[in-house]
Amino acid sequence: MNTPALAAIAQAEQGTSLWQDAWLRLRRNRLAVCGLAVLVCFILIALLTPWIAPYGYAQQNLELGAAPPSAAHWLGTDIFGRDLLTQIMFGGRISLAVGFIATAVALLIGVTWGAIAGYAGGRVDAVMMRLVDILYALPFMIFIVLLMVVFGRNMLLLFLAIGAVEWLTMARIMRAQVQALRQQEFVEAAISLGLSPAAIIRRHLIPNALGPIIVYTTLTIPSVMLLEAFLSFLGLGVQPPQTSWGLLISYGAETLEEYPWLLLYPGLALTLTLFSLNFLGDGLRDALDVRGARD
């Protein structure tokens, strides 16, 4: 038997040490730690915003209008004379919450769905994946309008709508990975050891398919934040004077020639989050990669 198969058996025997090992390895990856630090920092700011924001988020100063950064307003103001830094801080609360929660929902459904379909194969796989095809094909816009009319607007619905869209691709990627992994020796070894399908999926298939999944997840978070802006603009989700990074960016894009700072700073916040997520994601992937680690 070759190394992954042995590793699989070792894993099966003491599943927890994998995660402890991973954490140790992650801590040695400087970029990943930086990414984690930035994310924790953003989350802390988001939590503390109501107490530390320099201005009230709805506080307008129409006469001031859109002004470039100054001593009073470090990042400038928007067309209503509202402080941009405050807007970004409050927007971060919404965006981070939507980004993480909706992605977690998508991840949970998508990975489970894809793993089961890929592992089971045959008729189960066919039915499950055709359902995914159907959901892809339904007109999203009508779906959103209906959601709004039937349930009114609230944040829970927003997570639901976004999760409902984002898990589909996740499921396809997961399924493809699992299919590829299923017939490898270490899985066969696990089957011959008499592990239940659930255990095999949880302990062997998911950890080994994590690479693309982590990457896709880190990519999903920013796209979810932008999708939120689109839905909010359509009326589902946050309503003014509340805001989010996605909304700030989409309004900023409209006036990128006249008031570039309205685009630049929210864009920076989003980009910084994405970079941190990716470094963290890559670090996690490397840390969890049993085979890679033995190289």
Partner: protein, 545 residues
């Protein structure tokens, strides 16, 4: 990778530079030389059948391809001869006789006759046609009965061809604006033989308006129609007044995205834009020889107040909300001074009519009224939702007003945007507290705004109903013998309505365009009306850059 990306960029930019050299001439320069106007037209037209279409983009194209009995002078908006060479109104104001120009031809060479109009009006009014603007012909005797299916015999409708070139129309009541309506798509004549070649008169689906089929009577003829791309018309050689037409052709672009439209203008792809992005206005206004045009437009932007639901069932609350809005400040800041504050429904100066101004920005009075209504300093305020359709400009106004109400009255108003069709449902079923609304006049007359608020009117949507008001609008005003007397009655009615404040007027619309300086004969006017017959292009002296 950085290297290959750089290389890629170099290759791309080099090839672009080459391409750019090949086609250095912009649409505008080329158009000025060839007499072709490049016109940003907003959206893809729904169609080109004058009795089917309803929108402004459609009407621009339809007016190039068809001509009404009368047209309007773009400088004065007074009616002037179109297909009708002249017309007279009887002393009692009830009979209008049009004398058709004998030189008027269809684009296939057929002469235009009074029978064409009788047949076309029957088509326009047929219930099966589903013409949404059929009501433009309602001043005609029995037209409404025919259009609503209460009358089947069209010969009972008050329009007759006395001979091939004389059309006589009987009206229900003196209608001073009737001649103006002859310039509306819905009253245009269409070519019977062409339509019948492709189906029944009232079929909406036939391909008779396609390039290869369409027969019109306007100054231009359709030569190309590519969906969502462009519509091209060229000067017609059968049009009776062709010698006066100075353009050789027009290209209409469906410029849906207003930022894209502005950029097209900036690089010389367009002579004319349908609108201007709000935040670009200061930039263009500051330019020398500014292409920016801004004039009052016959329309009012207002909020509907639902008078059937608390807290807005109390007139004092409605008045307090209206007085707490600082319109000047809103317009001078967020809107960059591009509109005019409104304090009533009728736009000021509609054919000389000035609406009453019953209130102004007055925080102290607003606070007092709100306290009287039981909400001193906003205490006990039950909350209120402002409904508007998804759009950035509506949003901006709503956000500013939300804060003004909070500052002045200490009350919370939540914002709820709805997708367009959902919003329409909410408005028409009065399923809202307060809702954004705009009304654009179909013809220049205060009546077009004031008859909105008749009891149970389809576009009233506020619950306002006052029999005395209806009496003045429907009975007294049409009986007036002079314009002054009529306006006095309308003024009294408008005062009565605005005292009840079923709406919260915000601003009078303006039309905003970017127009290349080489374009002449496209004056700004209240109707945002373009008469392409008047338009000409100045050839560039240096011809190319």
């Amino acid at each position: 990778m950085r290297f290959s990306a750089l290389q890629f960029l170099c290759v791309v930019s080099a090839s672009l530079a080459l391409l750019a050299c090949g086609s250095g001439e912009s649409n505008v320069i080329q158009g000025n030389r060839d007499g072709i106007l490049h016109f940003g037209n907003g959206t893809e037209p729904q169609g080109l059948d004058p009795h089917v279409v309803t929108g402004i983009p459609e009407s621009h194209i339809v007016r190039a391809l068809f001509e009404g009995l009368t047209v309007k002078n773009p400088y004065t908006l007074e009616s002037e001869p179109g297909v009708a060479q002249s017309w007279e109104v009887s002393a009692d104001g009830l009979t209008v006789t049009f004398h058709l120009n004998r030189a008027a031809r269809w684009s296939n060479g057929d002469p235009m006759t009074a029978d064409d109009y009788v047949w076309s009006w029957q088509r326009a009014l047929s219930p099966a046609m589903g013409n949404q603007y059929a009501y433009m012909l309602y001043p005609v005797v029995n037209a409404e009965a025919f259009a609503t299916g209460k009358l089947d015999d069209f010969t009972a409708v008050g329009v007759k061809a006395l001979d091939a070139h004389t059309l006589q129309v009987q009206l229900n009541a003196p209608t001073p604006y009737f001649i103006q309506l002859m310039d509306h798509d819905s009253t245009f004549a269409v070519h019977r033989a062409t339509i019948e070649k492709f189906g029944k008169a009232t079929d909406r689906f036939t391909p008779w308006t396609r390039v290869e089929n369409i027969v019109g009577n306007g100054p231009f003829q359709l030569t190309d129609w590519q969906l969502n791309r462009r519509i091209v018309v060229e000067k017609s050689d059968t049009y009776w007044d062709r010698d006066k037409v100075q353009l050789n052709g027009i290209v209409f672009y469906p410029t849906e995205n207003i930022s894209s439209e502005e950029r097209m203008f900036r690089v010389g792809q367009l002579h004319y834009t349908q609108t201007v992005p709000l935040d670009k206005i200061p930039v263009y206004r500051a330019m020398q020889d500014s292409p920016y045009v801004n004039v009052p437009y016959l329309g009012t932007y207002y909020y509907l107040l639902n008078t059937t639901k608390p807290p807005l069932h109390d007139v004092r609350v409605r008045q307090a909300l209206a007085m707490a809005v600082d319109r000047e400040r809103l317009i001078n800041t967020v809107m960059h001074g591009s509109t005019v504050p409104a304090y009533s429904i009728t736009p000021p100066g509609t054919l000389g009519y000035q609406p009453p101004t019953l209130f102004g920005y007055d925080v102290a009075r607003a606070r007092a009224l709100l306290a009287e209504a039981g909400y001193p300093d906003g205490k006990g305020w039950p909350g209120l939702e402002l409904t508007y359709n998804t759009s950035e400009s509506h949003l901006k106004i709503a956000v500013a007003l939300q804060q003004m109400w909070k500052d002045a009255l200490n009350i919370d108003v939540t914002l709820g945007n709805q997708e367009w069709k959902v919003y329409l449902d909410s408005v028409h079923q009065m399923n809202f507290d307060m809702a954004r609304r705009g009304w654009i006049g179909d013809y220049v007359d205060p009546n077009n705004f004031l008859d909105l608020f008749l009891c149970g009117g389809g576009n009233n949507n506020t619950g306002f109903c006052d029999p005395h008001y209806d009496e003045m609008i429907q009975r007294q005003a049409p009986q007036a013998t002079s314009r002054e007397e009529r306006y006095a009655i309308l003024y009294a009615a408008e005062t009565l309505m605005m005292q009840q404040m079923p709406i919260l007027p915000i601003y009078t619309y303006t039309s905003n365009h970017l127009i290349n300086p080489s374009v002449h004969g496209m004056p700004a006017n209240l109707m945002d009306y373009v008469n392409f017959r008047y338009v000409s292009l100045q050839k560039d002296e240096k011809d190319s850059e």
